[in-house]
């Protein structure tokens, strides 16, 4: 390892925000020094609790995140916030909006806020978030809030990276079909009806109860509680924190937490292994084979399965 990398790790472990930020950037960029950095952090015990926060645009994820930060800070947690933005793969950047709205905490040195884009990561989002978690963990943050935008594959990956996933809904966002569409319900450990002072909140709660009642779950499984909040005025945030803590205890007692962490490690390793293999596809002249066969397949002279078999054989 270079001296630079070593002092970076030392700085991050000492909790120096600037070094934490630089290490996360290195991880995001996926440069050649990442494996060595990760090797140096492999022994981090993984104490940090990761809370995923997801839901459709407009349900109040950022406000809820800000309210949770405040509540966690009151009990002296060190809090890191990752805002994962899967929506803008081409610009590669994450939006400032959330950060601006969380400004209330921007000057607190024990709160670390960071946006993260979901593309271009070595080993995909799953691997990158696992690496970023390890950095934050090493830097002594004991709670990581991971906020995602929208609904989709990225949210699922984020849910898989979290110990406890909150799914937020809001009344009057077209419950019924739209809520089911939002489907991420299925990944929620705690269901949050935010903006619960609005008309229709009772109905939204009933809808969620109905969906939970219909779900097929093994008897030992966790039943997601439904918590009402009005994040803008901090209402229900303490209840929410209690629900999160109860889920955390269940994770430990049931052994589900250990299983989640092993599964997460497995996903990380598999993602990195596939990245290595993809690299071999592109190197070794196989990239050219790929390009050639793409022309043939698009012209109808070859089928994609045969082409894929040839490409694999070439590495």
């Amino acid at each position: 390892m270079t001296r630079d990398a070593a002092s970076l790790i030392e700085g991050a472990r000492a909790g120096r925000v600037r070094d934490v930020a630089r290490m996360i950037s290195l991880v995001e960029d996926g440069g050649p020094e990442v494996p060595a950095l990760m090797q140096a952090l492999a022994e981090v015990p993984g104490r940090a609790r990761v809370i995923g926060i997801t839901g459709s645009p407009g349900v109040g994820k950022s406000t809820t995140t800000a309210a949770l930060i405040a509540a966690l800070r009151r009990r002296d947690d060190r809090v890191a916030v990752l805002a994962v933005d899967p929506s803008s793969p081409f610009s590669g950047g994450a939006l400032l909006g959330d950060r601006i709205r969380m400004q209330g905490h921007a000057t607190d040195p024990r709160v670390f806020i960071r946006s993260m884009a979901t593309r271009g990561h070595l080993g995909g989002l799953a691997a990158t978030t696992a690496q970023v978690m390890r950095v934050l963990d090493a830097a002594g943050f004991n709670t990581v809030l991971m906020e995602t935008v929208g609904v989709g594959q990225s949210e699922i990956e984020v849910a898989q990276a979290a110990d406890t996933t909150l799914v937020l809904v809001a009344p009057g966002m077209g419950d019924g079909i739209q809520a089911a569409k939002a489907g991420i319900l299925e990944v929620g450990d705690v269901l949050v009806v935010n903006k619960a002072d609005r008309e229709g909140a009772d109905r939204t709660v009933r809808d969620l109860q109905g969906m939970l009642a219909m779900a097929v779950r093994p008897p030992t499984a966790w039943t997601p509680p439904i918590v009402r909040t009005v994040a803008t005025s901090n209402r229900g945030i303490d209840d929410l924190l209690t629900a999160i803590d109860e889920h955390g205890e269940w994770l430990v007692e049931s052994g589900a937490g250990h299983l989640r962490r092993v599964r997460r490690a497995r996903a990380e390793i598999e993602a990195l292994a596939l990245t290595l293999l993809r690299k071999r596809l592109d190197q070794a002249g196989a990239g050219t084979a790929l390009d050639r066969s793409a022309e043939e397949v698009s012209a109808g002279r070859l089928d994609a399965f045969t082409a894929a078999g040839r490409v694999v054989d070439s590495i």
Copy 2:
């Protein structure tokens, strides 16, 4: 190929809806007969035009799709609709909601409507949609409407599978930041302001114009037109169809259409190649190596990069 598969292909080519549906199910299930089926369809010329329809929940995608079906039927196109539902990976099913709302066309034999889940596909969504397109193409559908739910990675993949992507927005859905969050603007070939009779439509159009003005584009690139629609009453649907057709002509004239199709084939081949490699990871006892190293990584005794290297070396 089995006699069954051969007669299935014959049926699909003759446009028998039941055989088309069965072939799509086979492709979705990713069974062992899929490569042979695809080999038999490799020479399909790829005439069908694929139109992607995306946007946040609630902007009116299904209504717009239904209005487009009607307009396309008036000029005697044979139309297939794929409703891609990325939100429910665990139940593996797609929702009936959209199909119900499109019931108006459910009895028209020249309109084929199908929901598709996005998980569990051989080679991922990109490869599966490419295969389904080939089936629909072979069956003589000349326009395929691909509607997606929500915002995220899946939408990007869908956009990559389409010749022309429509991005729908609606006034008053929290324009500014939320619209930028919806970010899929960047994948839109035609931007549609639906519900254009609502207050705020002018502002939404201006916001989009502003975003287009800020975007950096090469001079030869396509500039997405902005079309106003009220899909519920068919207003603007003819303009939308004109915009779609103009984009289609540009694709041909500029050569961009050919490039898109080659890039799509490349993505399909790469996805299938990685699937083959992933299979090898799980077979050959490497699955066990993966499980073992997952335990070690989660316990902090090994780092994920070293583990990934070992797993790759084991195949």
